[in-house]
């Protein structure tokens, strides 16, 4: 950036230009946040598509509601993974959040995502145990 010096001649601004320039840093972080959040959103969408296809297969062929639990478990895994990416984006965004209202919104979103992540992980663990019990019962019923 070039500014006029008091004596009339051009003078380079004292601010360090380059990697640590605030504007460039802000642009770079903004780009990375969008990239990471997009990856998270893609993971969630792909998980939803896979779960929907599996639901159609189970519902139309076997018509057994027990199969829904496994689909829900896998969808939950995709949601947790997508949320992890979006949390990473939130953490990165906190580096360039300038106003108090933006920081407040960021904190609310991060808190919701963290809580969701915690509850989803807990439910996945419980549902996994339930699915394993179902498999064990099915194995015990079927002849060896």
């Amino acid at each position: 950036m070039v500014q006029d010096a008091p004596n009339g001649g051009p003078r380079k601004e004292r601010r360090v230009e380059g990697l640590l320039d605030e504007e460039r840093l802000s642009e770079a972080v903004d780009f990375l946040v969008r990239l990471i959040e997009s990856v998270g959103a893609i993971v969630i969408f792909v998980g939803a598509v896979i779960a929907f296809v599996r639901f159609l297969m189970v519902a139309l062929t076997t018509r057994r509601a027990e199969g829904f639990l496994e689909i829900r478990l896998d969808l939950g895994r995709f949601l947790v993974l997508g949320l992890e990416f979006q949390l990473a984006g939130d953490i990165l965004r906190s580096a360039i959040a300038p106003t108090f209202s933006e920081i407040g919104q960021l904190a609310a979103v991060a808190a919701i995502r963290t809580a969701l992540n915690y509850f989803l992980s807990r439910e996945i663990k419980e549902e996994r145990e339930e699915v394993e019990q179902q498999h064990e019962r099915r194995d015990a019923r079927s002849p060896a």
Binding site: A41, I44, A48, A59, I71, L79, L83, E130
Partner: protein, 79 residues
């Protein structure tokens, strides 16, 4: 590309609605179908939140989170 992703949120939510109707009709059981449909609604809200930091969107996700936790507990105690 990133701007287009939150627009997929209604598609995922609609898939949840299809699951709720089709699943209940075909299996004649509401509870397991409701759990799966609720996850789809949650996925839709999360997709929307990825492009919108508005308080309204945050509130919807928070509400769905509470519903999901409650539904999970009720479904588990009922089955």
């Amino acid at each position: 590309m990133p701007e287009a992703l939150p627009e997929l949120a209604p598609v995922v939510a609609a898939a949840g609605l299809v699951i709720l109707i089709l699943g209940t009709t075909l299996t004649r059981r509401l509870r397991p179908t409701l759990g799966l449909a609720l996850d789809f609604f949650l996925a839709g809200s999360l997709l929307r939140l990825s492009g919108d930091l508005a308080l309204q969107a945050i509130a919807v996700v928070g509400l769905l989170l509470v519903l999901r936790v409650l539904a999970g507990r009720v479904l588990r105690s009922a089955t």
